[in-house]
C-alpha cells in the first residue's frame, strides 16, 4: 500500500536551531512515530515550494499539505489573527502560550478552519525586539525621532508612528546595508535573526522590548486532512500538540542562549522593566484592529492578559 505523502513547507532555513525547521522536524518525528508505516512527511525549507502567502493559499487549495507560517501572513487570510501581532499584548512566553492554548486560541483556529486551513499548534518564533544605534529603549520616549525599519504592515508602521519613531518600510534584502551606512538607525527583529545575520556587527543597542510575540502556526490543509483515514487524523492532532510542546521548549532555550551570545559579541543589552506605558502609547493601534479581530474576542484576550 502506498504511503500518504505530506509535503510541508516553510521559508527559513533548515538550521539546527531555526524555530520553523525545529517545529517541522518535531512534527515529522511525532507523526511518523505514531503512523510511520502509513505516512511519509516530506520537508521543504528555504522557500523551495514557495513564499508564505503562496504556501497558505496552497493549503486552502490543497496543493500544499502543510507548513509553518508567520502570524502576519495567516492574518492576511483570517484577519482575526491580527490579535497576536498587537504590540505589547503579551507579557511573557508563558502567558502567550496559556492564552493561545485556551479559548482564545480555539476561537482563532475555528475561524481559520472555515477558510480551509487547520491549526495543529501555535508554535513560537520568539519575541521581537528592537536594535538600534542611537540609544537603548527603556521608555516610550526613547523611540522618538529614531529611524526604524519596519515591515510594510500597518500594525508595525502604526506602532512606531504612535511611539514617535520614524517608521521606514524597506525590503529585507537591503536592511543590513542600510543600517551599516546609517540610512536607518535600527530595526525590530526576532533575537535569532540578529545572530544569524550578524546584525551585532552593525548595531550597538539591543533592547528586550518584547513588543511582539511572534506566533508561528503549524498548519495543515483541510483538504489534505479530510482525506486522512481516522487513525491518521487522530495521530496528526496528537503529533501537533507534542511537536508544539517540544518546539516551544527549544525556542525558549535558544532565546536564552542567543542573548548570552549577543552579549559576548559586544551588544549592550537592556530589559524593559515596565511595558504598560508602551501599551498605553500604542492604544490607537488596538482600536484600529478591533473591527477585524471582533469586539468579543478582543475583550476576552485583553481580560486574559491583565
Amino acid at each position: 500500500q502506498q504511503k500518504i505523502v505530506i509535503k510541508m513547507g516553510w521559508t527559513s532555513g533548515a538550521g539546527e536551531t531555526d524555530p520553523y525547521a525545529v517545529g517541522a522536524r518535531e512534527f515529522k518525528k511525532s507523526l511518523e512515530a505514531r503512523v510511520g508505516q502509513k505516512v511519509d512527511v516530506q520537508l521543504f525549507p528555504n522557500r523551495q515550494i514557495g513564499d508564505e502567502k503562496p504556501l497558505i493559499d496552497g493549503m486552502r487549495l490543497g496543493t500544499v499539505d502543510g507548513g509553518i507560517i508567520t502570524n502576519a501572513v495567516i492574518s492576511q487570510i483570517e484577519p482575526a489573527f491580527q490579535l497576536n501581532d498587537l504590540p505589547f499584548l503579551f507579557e511573557s512566553e508563558a502567558q502567550a502560550q496559556r492564552i493561545l492554548d485556551g479559548s482564545v486560541g480555539k476561537k482563532l483556529a475555528d475561524k481559520l478552519d472555515a477558510k480551509g486551513v487547520k491549526v495543529l499548534g501555535y508554535m513560537e518564533g520568539g519575541f521581537r525586539n528592537m536594535i538600534n544605534n542611537v540609544r537603548p529603549v527603556n521608555k516610550p520616549d526613547d523611540i522618538k525621532g529614531v529611524k526604524y525599519r519596519v515591515m510594510q504592515n500597518p500594525v508595525y508602521i502604526g506602532m512606531f508612528s504612535s511611539l514617535g519613531g520614524n517608521a521606514i518600510p524597506m525590503a529585507w534584502g537591503e536592511v543590513f546595508t542600510a543600517v551599516q551606512q546609517g540610512a536607518i538607525d535600527g530595526l525590530e527583529i526576532p533575537l535569532s535573526i540578529i545572530d544569524q545575520n550578524k546584525f551585532f556587527e552593525v548595531t550597538k543597542y539591543l533592547s528586550l522590548t518584547n513588543h511582539t510575540y511572534s506566533m508561528i502556526g503549524l498548519l495543515i490543509s483541510k483538504r489534505t486532512y479530510d482525506k486522512f483515514p481516522d487513525d491518521v487524523k487522530k495521530a496528526a492532532i496528537e503529533a501537533g500538540v507534542e511537536a508544539t510542546k517540544a518546539q516551544r521548549a527549544m525556542s525558549l532555550e535558544a532565546t536564552k542562549l542567543v542573548v548570552k551570545t549577543l552579549e559576548s559579541k559586544g551588544m549592550q543589552i537592556n530589559r524593559v522593566a515596565d511595558f504598560k506605558p508602551f501599551r498605553t502609547a500604542v492604544s490607537s493601534v488596538y482600536d484600529k484592529v478591533k473591527g477585524s479581530v471582533g469586539e468579543d474576542l478582543m475583550k476576552e484576550a485583553l481580560a486574559a492578559v491583565q
Binding site: F44, L61, T177, A183
Partner: protein, 424 residues
C-alpha cells in the same frame, strides 16, 4: 523518472523547440502536469500571481522605462557624442565609441537588449558608413549590450537578489569589475579588427568640439550619479533608484532637452511595458514550474549527486558554468535563474562559495547568454537593427564571446576579482 519529472524536462523541451514562446511553454507545461496528475487547477493562477508580488521586481519595468526615456529624450545620442569626441580618431575608434557609450549607458540601464538597442540604433549605421562591415558593426553592438546587466544597475542582479535573498545593492557592486574587464577586452577586439581590415581612421576632434560635446552631454553624464549615488549614498533602494532615474530622465527630456513631449509619453511608456512584460511574464510563469521541480526534489537529487561525485570547488564551478552556457543556448536566462536558482544556491553552499560571489558568476553567465548564439536577446536586437541574419552575425562575434568567457573564468576563479568593490 516519474511522470511529472519527465513532463517537466522532456515535455517542456519539446514545446520550446517546437516554437512555443517561453512564457507560454512554461505556463503550458505546468497546466499539463496539473491535468496529468490531477492537482487542483487553481495552482497555476495562484503561482503566477505569487510570481508578480515582489517590490524588487518593480525595478524591471522602471529601468526599462528609464532607458526608453533616455533614448526618446535624446540623452543616448548625447552619450554617443561624448564618447565620439574622445576616441573616434584611434584605430578602431568608432567601434570603441560603441563600447564606451554602452558602458556609460549601462550605468543607467539595467537591461542588456535595451543597451544594444539604444547604442546600436545610432552606431551600427554610423560604423557601416565609416567602413566597418555591417556584420562586425552589429556584433560589437550586440556584445556591448552585455555590459547592461553587469554594470549597476542591473535587472539580472535584481532577479538574482530576489531568488537568493541577497542584498541587491551589494550584488550590483560585484558586477563592476567583470563588466569593466569585458569592456576592456572588447576595446582590444575593436583595435585588432580595424587594424587587420584596414578600416580608415576618423578625424581627431578639436577642442571646441570636445567642449561642446561635454556641455551638451552633461545631463546624460550626470544621470548615473543619480542612480548609483542614490543607492550607495543610502538614499534609496534599487527599486526607488529606478523610479528616480525615470523622474530625472522625464524632467531632462521634457524641460531641458525638450525632445520629449507629453503627447509622446504613452507610446514611450508602452514600449517599456512591452519589453518589461516579456521578462516578467517569464518570471511569473516560472514560479509555479519551479515549485513543481522542487516538489519532485529533482534539484535536491542533482545537488546530492553532484556532492557525491564532485569533490573540488573548481570542478563544481566549472560544471556549473558549462551547464549554464549550454542551457542558455536553448533556454531563457531569466527562467534559468528563477527555476534553477535553489539548485544553484545549494551547489554554492555545498562548496562554500560566497553568495555575492556566486551572484556575480551567475549574472556574468546570464550576460554572456544574451549575446552568445544561437539565441540571445541582444542578438535578436542586433539582427533587427542591422537586418542581418543570425548566421552573418554569429560568424564574426566569436572573438567577443571568447573575451567574455575569459572574463567569466577570472570571475569564477579569482573571488577578489568580483568582490573588489564590496564594503569591508
Amino acid at each position: 523518472m516519474s511522470t511529472i519529472a519527465l513532463l517537466l524536462t522532456l515535455g517542456f523541451g519539446a514545446l520550446v523547440v517546437a516554437g512555443v514562446p517561453f512564457a507560454l511553454a512554461i505556463a503550458g507545461i505546468t497546466a499539463i502536469v496539473l491535468v496529468a496528475v490531477d492537482i487542483e487547477p487553481a495552482f497555476l493562477a495562484q503561482q503566477i500571481i505569487a510570481g508578480s508580488q515582489s517590490f524588487s521586481l518593480l525595478a524591471i519595468p522602471l529601468f526599462m522605462l528609464a532607458g526608453e526615456l533616455m533614448s526618446a529624450g535624446g540623452l543616448s545620442q548625447r552619450l554617443v557624442d561624448v564618447a565620439s569626441v574622445l576616441v573616434r580618431h584611434l584605430t578602431g575608434g568608432l567601434a570603441m565609441v560603441t563600447v564606451l557609450a554602452a558602458l556609460v549607458f549601462s550605468a543607467i540601464s539595467g537591461s542588456a537588449p535595451a543597451t544594444t538597442a539604444a547604442i546600436g540604433s545610432i552606431l551600427i549605421p554610423a560604423m557601416a558608413n565609416a567602413g566597418y562591415s555591417r556584420a562586425f558593426a552589429a556584433s560589437i553592438a550586440v556584445s556591448s549590450g552585455v555590459l547592461g546587466p553587469l554594470i549597476p544597475p542591473s535587472i539580472a542582479f535584481v532577479i538574482w537578489g530576489i531568488v537568493a535573498e541577497q542584498s541587491i545593492g551589494r550584488l550590483f557592486l560585484s558586477g563592476i569589475v567583470p563588466g569593466l574587464a569585458i569592456a576592456l577586452g572588447l576595446l582590444i577586439v575593436c583595435y585588432f579588427h580595424a587594424k587587420r581590415n584596414a578600416v580608415p581612421r576618423l578625424e581627431r576632434a578639436r577642442w571646441p568640439e570636445i567642449k561642446q560635446a561635454f556641455a551638451r552631454g552633461k545631463w546624460a553624464l550626470f544621470s548615473p550619479l543619480v542612480v548609483l549615488g542614490g543607492i550607495y549614498g543610502g538614499i534609496f533602494t534599487p527599486t526607488e533608484a529606478a523610479a528616480m532615474s525615470c523622474v530625472y530622465a522625464l524632467a531632462v527630456g521634457l524641460y531641458i532637452e525638450r525632445r520629449l513631449t507629453w503627447r509622446a509619453l504613452p507610446e514611450v511608456f508602452l514600449k517599456a511595458a512591452r519589453t518589461s512584460a516579456l521578462v516578467t511574464a517569464i518570471i511569473a510563469a516560472s514560479v509555479g514550474f519551479g515549485v513543481l521541480i522542487a516538489q519532485e526534489q529533482l534539484a535536491l537529487k542533482f545537488a546530492t549527486w553532484l556532492a557525491e561525485n564532485v569533490r573540488e570547488r573548481w570542478t563544481a564551478l566549472a560544471g556549473l558554468n558549462a551547464v549554464f552556457f549550454v542551457l542558455a543556448a536553448v533556454m531563457d536566462e531569466i527562467a534559468i535563474m528563477v527555476i534553477l536558482g535553489p539548485l544553484l544556491i545549494a551547489i554554492g553552499n555545498k562548496f562554500g562559495v560566497d553568495p555575492i560571489h556566486l551572484g556575480s558568476i551567475i549574472v556574468t553567465n546570464v550576460a554572456i547568454g544574451m549575446a552568445a548564439p544561437p539565441i540571445g536577446y541582444c542578438l535578436f536586437v542586433g539582427m533587427a537593427i542591422s537586418g542581418l541574419s543570425l548566421g552573418k552575425i554569429s560568424k564574426v562575434i566569436w572573438p567577443q564571446i571568447i573575451v567574455m568567457l575569459i572574463v567569466l573564468f577570472l570571475t569564477t576563479y579569482i573571488p577578489s576579482f568580483a568582490m573588489a568593490f564590496q564594503p569591508k
